[in-house]
Amino acid sequence: MKTVGFRSIVLYILLAAFLLGAGYLAVELAIHGGDWAMQPYNGHLYDTAELGKITDRNGHVLAYTDDDGDRLYGESEAIRRALLHTVGDTRGYISTGVQHSLSDRLTGYNFITGLSDLPFGGIDRDVALTVDQDACAAAYGALEGRNGAALVYNYKTGEVLVKVSAPGFDPENEPEDLNDDPAYNGVYLDNTLSASFTPGSIFKLVTLTAAMEKWPDSWSQRAYACEGSMEIGGSEITCFDHTAHGTQTAAEALGNSCNVYFAQLANDIGGEALQAKAEAMGFNRSFSFDSIPTAESEIKLSGADANQLGWAGVGQHTVLVNPGHMLLLMGSIANGGEAVPPRLTKSAGLLPGLSGGEKLVTAAEAVQLKALMRSNVENYYGDWNFPAGLDVCAKTGTGEVGEEKGPNCWMVGFCDNAQYPYAFAVVVEDGPGGMAAAGPVVSAALSALVD
């Protein structure tokens, strides 16, 4: 009898497995419950748990649910289209939109009561964003129908002021041919956070920073001759329109955006050192943009020959950058090296603005880059392109993407201005050129913000 009784402890194996499984399930539900509940097919999301109101930084309503249970959006079509990727669509296909990423807050979801009806409307489900609807609409308008992305944020506080991605659509009047019309290709993708583009000349800032690290005392004196083109590693590296820039120092070459200069510089720095510096500046990794992970900026120089390294040094070859990462890099340069983490909601974080940012460039590099970028605008692009008195520092770029499509036109930079501490990153696809296509977008956004 006792032997048989003793053997029954074999049941404890089963019991232990059962308790372990049940405990695991409960913990998983506590951790992932919010994500699991926020599925587009969840019937409760439309029945009982209507989404809360979303407002911009000035209290303008960006999205709300009316008495009939319909989800309605901003006051004009321009605003609705401009904020589509920030706010999100009704069906939840835009996963980087607030309606998806913050759906647990908007539905009032919590682990205790789930999505159930709470007495007298329950807890506050409204979300106030940091964006400015008019600045977003201005930037979207300035894209003039082209695809691209525009970001502006306050590099002191981290508040994102403009976040626009195109192509977009009006979420209140969703087009029926959304999945068929090629013009809407990638419409659910947020170009600011989830895409990476060939950078072109804006990458010269990275190449130059690598030079600063390699030759801290003499980088600015390094001079290279430019005859409009140059054979490196067996093939040509050319400047825009084969313009011969002559012998230049670093500041002149950056202002002229001289490819020949930076191709030689990149080869003198060496692939390994350039790669290492780029990674220190945030390449090949993802950033958290108010809990949404950004696509990685990519650089891979191992195995590149001299010509490829030359092209990489001017932001071609296989280099790709993400606009969100560029915004952070600009914020870092503007803010003495420290990149304040961006945030989209006004109440995010217990101590907003105090959470430590990371250094993408050193304080010394930040000062030097700032001076160079200010010189770009003062001496080459012209301050008249921007609202007066903002002391804009910037670098343009045209990333060539092939024969049949126009280049990616970039402008990245910031205002060196205590009252308007704004950093920006704008990319316009298939455009005429950096200043021509991206400049007006930056200008439109800044004008709307300064007003």
Binding site: K2, V4, F6, V10, L11, L25, T48, G114, S116, P119
Partner: protein
């Protein structure tokens, strides 16, 4: 009157209703937890103290052997309950066991034989106080025990010293069902009086059975029945809240289940009767399987239904009970026939039938139950290892020749990558709606999972958590887990190894089935499509759960004892409280 009606109508549409329902949803699982926990602690406290029943006195050496169990193995082997280190005594010499008529000594294949008062025993012989039993070179005489019972020590007494009265516990069950009935009848802001019907039926059934069992039959314990009623009632009210029509079957099945429970208790009260019927039970089970194979209906990929006119049932659910009957055994039989070949062949036949019926979930449950029984009978890790290897081979063959089974494994653990195809559709819905419910649930009758296929059977745990919350889900899981502790509790103290093995097998079966159901529907295991004990819609399943509950019940020594007259019960005459 009008004013009351108006106030009620106002209440239904005011912001107050969600708050009241939320409080009800928070209180219900607390009451359920009270029932589940107090039933177990009361069950533990009601058990007899560990004092010896009788004493065997070795006349040669003067040694005294306290007889602690209802069935005692005697022999030279150290695993025996009474060890006689005498070279003439066989390793497993004899079994001394208690039956309704008194104490019996059985020869279990010893070399030297067993002699009572000088007469050789063939089979078994009744022995009484003063009788002299000779085993090889040892002669023992049987006496009543007059030793003072040792004090029982307990590390954890479970928050309370006294056992709760059965009436109080059943009252708590009624409270849980009352709270659920309020919830169901106020769902969605409309008063639905029909939701009180299942409550009324449950009320009558539970208290009626209680009156018969405790009042008329004077049974001592009622804890397991109480837990059974809690779980069945909760399942019925859960299903009633979304579809009142399905509940008629469930209520009928509950009545039948309670009858099966009572029948099995009666049937197992005479182990000789059980021994006589065992062969027929086994043969009947295989016959039923064969019948199923010939005239069975195929539903959702498994051919595991038999329809007879308006009634249809799942034979495999009843064969579960037969399986335990065939597998378990009394100690004298265990000692004489040590190998498990017979049972192994029976298991093989059952598995073969289940494979032909394509009911692999049930096959797994049978297999788990087989492992429990085989280990408790043989104690041989080597046998178990061999069987597991054979089973692994079987699984490989099944996956090879039935690729659709393998498909279920492909999606396993990756349900979220298969939101819209068959490999993850049901699992992701379960997880989403469980999460939607949170800890306290969306409210009884407010389900979206119900529109998913098999929501009321295979996915019913998700339905429970969605409507009543994860808290309630965990309370129910606790109740399932505690069945193991009920079965294990003083397992050596049961009236026979037959009951010990049967109760462990039944508890193992219930818990393993719970694991397959809960973890299958939440993607921790492959989805096999087995029912959730006591909850899933399906009459056969509910009846068989009550049958399994009977097996756990019989292992409790008190099941066949009438209400005690006094506290002292250490001598044989006072043990005549045993019902015969």
């Amino acid at each position: 009157m009008e004013a009351v009606k108006e106030a009620f109508a106002y209440f239904l549409h005011s912001g107050l209703l969600p708050g009241v329902l939320l409080i009800l949803r928070a209180v219900t699982p607390v009451a359920a937890l009270y029932v589940v926990w107090r039933c177990y602690t009361s069950f533990k406290k009601g058990q007899r103290r560990r004092d010896p029943l009788i004493v065997l006195w070795d006349e040669g050496s003067g040694a005294r052997f306290p007889v602690l169990y209802w069935e005692n193995s005697i022999g030279r082997s150290r695993s025996c309950d009474i060890v006689l280190p005498d070279p003439q005594v066989s390793r497993d010499h004899a079994v001394l066991m208690r039956r309704a008529e008194g104490w019996f000594i059985c020869d279990t294949g010893s070399k030297a034989g067993v002699w009572v008062n000088g007469e050789k025993v063939e089979g078994r012989a009744l022995v009484g106080a003063g009788d002299r039993i000779t085993l090889g070179g040892v002669t023992l005489s049987l006496w009543n025990s007059d030793a003072a019972p040792p004090k029982r020590r307990r590390v954890f007494t479970g928050f309370s010293r006294e056992a709760a009265s059965p009436r109080k516990l059943l009252l708590a069950v009624t409270l849980v069902q009352f709270l659920m009935a309020i919830q169901a009848s106020l769902n969605g802001g409309h008063f639905a009086p029909a939701q009180w019907l299942p409550f009324g039926v449950l009320l009558v059934l539970e208290w009626g059975f209680f009156a018969v069992s405790v009042g008329v039959l004077r049974h001592v314990s009622f804890e397991l029945e109480t837990v059974g009623f809690l779980l069945s009632g909760m399942g019925i009210q859960l299903l009633a809240a979304t579809d009142l029509a399905t509940v008629t079957t469930q209520l009928a099945a509950l009545v039948l289940g309670v009858c099966v429970f009572a029948f099995l208790l009666w049937f197992m009260s005479d182990l000789d009767r059980v021994a006589k019927c065992r062969l027929w039970i086994g043969a009947g089970a295989l016959l039923l399987f064969a019948l199923n194979l010939v005239i069975g209906d195929e539903r959702y990929g498994s051919k595991n239904w038999i329809s007879l006119g308006p009634v249809s049932f799942q034979p495999s659910e009843f064969i579960k009970l037969a399986f335990i009957f065939v597998g378990t055994s009394t100690l004298d039989r265990l000692q004489t026939r040590k190998n498990i070949t017979e049972f192994l062949i029976f298991t093989g036949a059952c598995m073969g039938f289940l494979a032909l019926l394509r009911d692999f979930g049930t096959a797994l449950i049978f297999f788990a139950c087989f492992l429990v029984i085989a280990f408790m009978r043989s104690g041989s890790v080597r046998t178990i290892a061999l069987v597991l290897m054979a089973a692994a081979l079987g699984v490989v063959l099944v996956l090879r020749f039935m690729p659709y089974v393998a498909e279920r494994f492909l999606g396993w653990g990756h349900a979220w990558q298969h939101i819209n195809d068959s490999m993850g559709f049901q699992q992701t819905r379960v997880l989403t709606y469980m999460a939607s419910g949170g800890l306290l649930g969306m409210g009884l009758g407010n389900s979206s999972l119900i529109y998913i296929f098999a929501a009321d059977s295979d996915l019913v745990f998700g339905l429970l958590c969605e409507e009543q919350g994860l808290f309630m889900g965990l309370v129910v899981l606790l109740a399932m887990g505690l069945f193991i502790l009920y079965a294990r509790s003083d397992v050596a103290r049961s009236r026979s190894t037959f009951f010990s093995i049967a109760s462990c097998a039944a508890a193992g079966m219930l818990l393993f089935q719970t694991c397959l159901n809960v973890f299958g529907s939440t993607d921790l295991l492959p989805l096999t499509g087995v029912t959730f004990p006591f909850f899933s819609a399906g009459g056969s399943s509910l009846v068989s759960c009550w049958g399994l509950l009977a097996f756990i019940k019989v292992s409790d020594e008190r099941t066949y004892a009438a209400r005690r007259a006094g506290r002292r019960r250490s001598k044989i005459p006072e043990m005549e409280d045993i019902r015969s």
